[in-house]
Amino acid sequence: MNAPGNAAATPLLELRDISKTFPGVKALDDVSFALYAGEVHMLLGENGAGKSSLMKVLCGAYSADAGEFFFEGKKVTIASTADAQKLGIAVIFQEFSLVPYLDIAQNIFLGREPKGRIPGTIDRRRILADARRLLDTIGFDIDPSVIVNTLGVAQQQMVEIAKAISQNARILVMDEPTAALSDRETELLFALIARLKADGVSIVYISHRMAEVFSLGDRITVLRDGRRIDGVRPADVTPDQLVRMMVGRTVDMTYPRNFADKPGEVLLTVKGLTAASGISDINIEVRRGEIVGLCGLVGSGRSEVARAIFGADPVASGEIVFDGKPISGEPDVAARRGIALIPESRKSEGLALLRSVGDNLVVSALRKLFPSGLFDPRSGQRTADGLIRQLRIATPSARQTVGLLSGGNQQKVVIGKWLAAGAKLFIFDEPTRGIDVGAKSEIFALIDRLVAEGAAALMISSEQVEICHVCDRAYVMREGRVAGHLTRNELTEENIVRLGMHHA
């Protein structure tokens, strides 16, 4: 194998002094990046550090304002996705680009189907045979005539990779490929990556997970604020050092939390809650001043409990008492009574992406801010400006389109709209997903302050460390039921895992 790091070896692809500016943002600032044949090159950085921009420049989706590209030492241009494809660069995005109603083989050869004997037809037998062979080479044992929308995330990812390989990809760019995979699926993916490496395919791998950075990476490039901070080998650094490079300051890895001496009055009582969405006999209590964790495996019914309490899913039976009175109905009822849901998918369920930061911040508080029903844009803007300052939302103004903010700042907007509405119970569904380290601890500090001021929080998280550090106590769910309750003293990762697993 070509020795990465051997100064004499010519990189397969080299980017020199790439810059890319968007209005108001320097997304990439003189970034240089070299990729050697057969290496896994980790791209590391907080959200907004420039990873995505670099990836998009690499695959021709953005054209760089300045800088040069060299492929096997020869100067090339990558001004379009077609240019990148010709060089054998393929990207596996987090959102797959497969056609859901076509089968695996059709997806792999979409637009390049072998012609049949009759003009205008496709050689179906050959396309299936070719697909079969291709799937074999990547070790994916599945019938190529299976329709793609029946596949799981991991399998669709395999199809994407097969498609890239079929286009003779020599460089695979993977954007957080393990984000939606189970442990076993992750192992299969890593095995495939090892096989691709052995075949001389180079992989640019964007990750937020420290463990895979060290287990998988040959080299690591760290980006921050659109600049390349350093290029290192995993053997030469520690995780702490990498984190410091990413954030440029020492991050306190413990989360801020001031535990109250004794919890306040009961705010939410859920009794025997059962819903068609797949939860049954849920019993939960949340008091003022508490952060209560709701953990368990993905799919154990955590989000469904949150949605049922908020009125987003219909309730079949059971009782929900909030602030002393029973509650039922649509989310507008829950919102008016003082319940807030900060949903898991921020972009699709939490925000109107094309509207402004200000519009999004006041949307839940309209009735409270303007009891007469008459909306005053100036007063709305003042409220929004106040929240932007209070939550330190990084935005040029309240008029900025919210879709242009980073993940952490978007999350602050979602929380901010419920602050404006004066919510008393905040239900967080994976509040820190896709958010960088700095913003994470800011959001936890915010939740801590909220409950200290008399609100309460119910927090769903797959990050057990977060639950253990932040929560007063936690419920653990398994297969749609509450499998157990852990007090502050019992709250350990082992206990959560033990209760959440089958046959515990």
């Binding site: 649509e330 402004s356 006041v362 949307v363 008029r399």
Partner: protein, 325 residues
């Protein structure tokens, strides 16, 4: 950081500055069309002609203003024209049988409103996509109206009633006053009430709107009912102006109303647009037709020109918006 500092020093503006820019371009387009027509034809700038243009634009605007709200929620109401026909025939019959224009007007508005509400129920309770629900409604209303009228024409209404569509007050046609009133009401409703804000939020992302505590179903019912009621209003103006009603009067009304909404800059994907923009859209449509009449160009060309304007307007909007992102 300097950019951020600079931005926060600028005085607070409305959240809808993007819309303001697009309205500005549209007003420029109106001025440009007027300037060209004024140069090409002496009679264009005559008071009579300008009032005529406004009066013609008003009918399209009444239908299109309600439709704008529907489109803002990412819906569509294809039944507005058929609704105008049914409402006009119902109102006309009531005036003929009772002799009371007031009762006729109320029935016309109620008929339009009820049809709109039914559309809203199909879209919310039955979850039928608005395009299909209102398309079906179009046929149902046509069927009802043809059956009800049985080829007859309602004709001859009291002089007082006819004033609404053809009368003047202080030298201006009465429909122009109504136009200004409803332009004001529509703009206030959309921009300066919380319901208007909620309608924008629903159009921008219905799921997020619901999870933000907006009563989405109630707002959608309201929006379709308003669209229907505005069609009812248009039917009254129509009836009063033509002094007659037939079953087929609605057929040429729906597509121009949609054109006015689109030329006015409202996005079919919802969340973007203004009632004032729709007024400008109706004005542009009418000006072009008027100009072609004045220049003795066959009106047969009008559909083609309308189509080109719609495509151009939407394309330019998409371009400016993409640049804004």
């Amino acid at each position: 950081m300097t950019d951020i500092a600079k931005e926060s020093l600028s005085p607070p503006r409305s959240f809808l500055s993007q819309d303001a820019i697009q309205l500005f371009y549209r007003l420029l387009a109106v001025l440009l069309i007027c300037a060209v027509l004024a140069v090409l034809n002496d009679s264009f700038l005559s008071l009579g002609n300008i009032l005529n243009v406004l009066r013609q634009a008003s009918l399209t605007f009444f239908i299109a203003s309600g439709l704008t709200l529907v489109v803002l929620t990412a819906g569509l109401d294809l039944s507005v024209g058929a609704n105008v026909a049914l409402s006009a025939c119902v109102a006309g019959t009531v005036i003929h049988t009772t002799g009371s224009p007031a009762l006729g007007i109320l029935t016309g508005l109620a008929c339009g409103g009820i049809v709109g509400l039914l559309n809203g129920i199909m879209v919310t309770a039955l979850r039928i996509p608005s395009f299909i629900a209102t398309y079906g409604m179009l046929w149902v209303l046509n069927g009802l109206t043809y059956w009800y009228m049985a080829g007859e024409t309602l004709h001859g209404f009291p002089a007082g009633f006819r004033q609404i569509g053809s009368g003047y007050l202080f030298g201006l046609p009465i429909p122009v006053y109504l136009l200004l009133v409803f332009l004001g009401i529509g703009t206030l409703f959309a921009q300066r009430t919380i319901w208007g804000q909620e309608i924008y939020a629903i159009g921008a992302n219905p799921v997020a709107a619901r999870l933000s505590g907006i009563p989405v179903t109630r707002r959608l019912l309201l929006v379709y009912a308003v669209s229907g009621t505005m069609a009812g209003l248009a039917s009254i103006i129509f009836l009063s102006r033509l002094n007659s009603a037939e079953a087929d009067i609605g057929e040429s009304l729906t597509l121009p109303a949609i054109a006015a909404v689109l030329i006015g800059g409202t996005s079919l994907f919802g969340g973007i647009g203004t009632v004032f923009g729709t007024f400008i859209g109706a004005l542009i449509l009418t000006l072009v037709l008027n100009g072609m009449n004045l220049l003795a160009v066959s009106a047969n060309w009008q559909p083609l020109v309308t189509g080109i304007i719609v495509i151009l307007a939407v394309w330019l909007d998409m371009k400016t918006r993409r640049r804004g992102q």
